[in-house]
Amino acid sequence: MKHKVATTVNGRQHEHEVEPRLLLVHYLRDNLGLTGTHIGCDTSQCGACTILVDGKAVKSCTMFAVQAEGRSLVTIEGMAKGGELHPIQQAFWDEHGLQCGYCTPGFIMAAAYLLEQNPNPTEDEIRKGLEGNLCRCTGYVNIVKAVQSAAKTMSATPAKKATVTAGGN
């Protein structure tokens, strides 16, 4: 039996009838066309599918779409505002925090949650905070640098931070 799911994604409201077995990540990609959220594994380990659900980093492959009923979600598509990259996106660009880029949306969303919890993390705290995300290319060094650089920019301009959890354009 199908169930109704009404969500707010990046500030826009959506409503669909879905099968309970539909994973949230498939809902985002296939029903909403938001293909920025990636799928990198079948075992809930890689973090490529990370999004924010009511401000919390969640692996969207390990949640059913029906569980998102009434929730507010932010995906990688909700990060840039008015054509301007979010400071975390800009920092990944500037610090070369990616190579193939497959893991990047997940890292950026996990980093957004991390910086929301801890605006000035140490290197160890960044590594621990991103332990749920795997990258097969970079060796992580530049990812850590990117998060450090984003932390600096964001604490200098606190307004940028507020937009992360609110979503919306």
């Binding site: 492959c61 991390l114 332990e131």
Partner: protein, 271 residues
């Protein structure tokens, strides 16, 4: 992979969850944090006929101090346990363990009750529950942890039984959980918990058998005045761990001894 089809229902109370479990029969399962169940369903290793979502039952999400007890609701997330001032004050070992379950994303979803009910041999809370003589409270009865974990992924729970709380004793003396693994977010290859309470030690082992293990022989040796190093030699007494991809039975027994020594020494503030 895409999970097999199932019926889905939300429960707004424990009674309703239990009724729904009865209605859908033996192949129905509770859905809590989903972080053990959904991975299994994606691999089609689990194909429940129905999922009863208990995430809307707010009263299952609580941490309460109750005299010399700490009551942790089944739906309390790992992140909440880890950040709780009450847990840090009353049972800091639990807060420490919670901070090492999975990763941030897992800790935002996974629950106390889910780990206990799932009874994975590498689950971290079952070790603590067993060694501290915690009680598992369900909608039907109270089950002492020592009677709860029956075998690999097998507990004393009946088909329409819902875990509501886990009740730990207060213990805030020296403590340490040493979790040995290859990557930060991995499950334990072997884990050892040490807690000093009521003048003695409690020692628990993770992933050295189908269920958690209490290292009675180590506790007794310490009671008789043995040093950590000597007592820890008994950590592998009676163990018959299964080998897996990451460790042979011999290696797990070796780890049990070495990590027991480390856990006791680190609990006491030595290296």
């Amino acid at each position: 992979m895409i999970p097999a089809a199932f019926e889905y229902a939300r429960a707004s109370s424990v009674e309703e969850a239990s009724k729904l479990l009865k209605k859908f029969g033996e192949d129905a399962k509770v859905l809590a944090g989903g972080h053990s169940l959904i991975p299994l369903m994606r691999l089609r290793l689990a194909q429940p006929a129905a999922l009863i979502d208990i995430n809307g039952i707010k009263e299952l999400d609580h941490i309460k101090e109750d005299g010399q007890k700490l009551r942790v609701g089944a739906l309390t997330r790992h992140v909440t346990i880890h950040n709780s001032a009450v847990v840090k004050a009353k049972l800091p070992l639990l807060a420490e363990i919670a901070s090492e379950v999975g990763d941030n994303q897992v800790r935002n979803m996974g629950t106390m009750g889910g780990v206990i009910a799932h009874a994975d041999a590498a689950g971290d809370y079952p070790t603590l529950a067993l060694m501290l003589d915690a009680d598992i409270v369900t909608n039907q009865r109270t089950i002492p942890a020592r009677d709860f974990f029956k075998d690999l992924f097998t507990t004393a729970l009946g088909p329409d039984e819902v875990v509501t709380e886990v009740v730990f004793p207060v213990a805030n003396g020296p403590h340490k959980y040493v979790k040995f693994r290859r990557r930060l977010f991995d499950w334990a290859i072997v884990g050892v918990a040490a807690q000093k309470m009521n003048g003695g030690w409690r020692i628990g082992l993770t992933n050295v058998g189908p269920t958690p293990v209490r290292a009675n022989a180590v506790e007794e040796a310490l009671q008789k005045g043995a040093k950590a190093e000597e007592a820890a030699q008994h950590a592998s007494d009676g163990l018959d761990p299964a080998g897996d991809l990451r460790a042979s039975p011999e290696y797990k027994k070796h780890l049990a001894r070495v990590l027991t020594k480390r856990a006791i020494n680190q609990a006491e503030g030595h290296q």
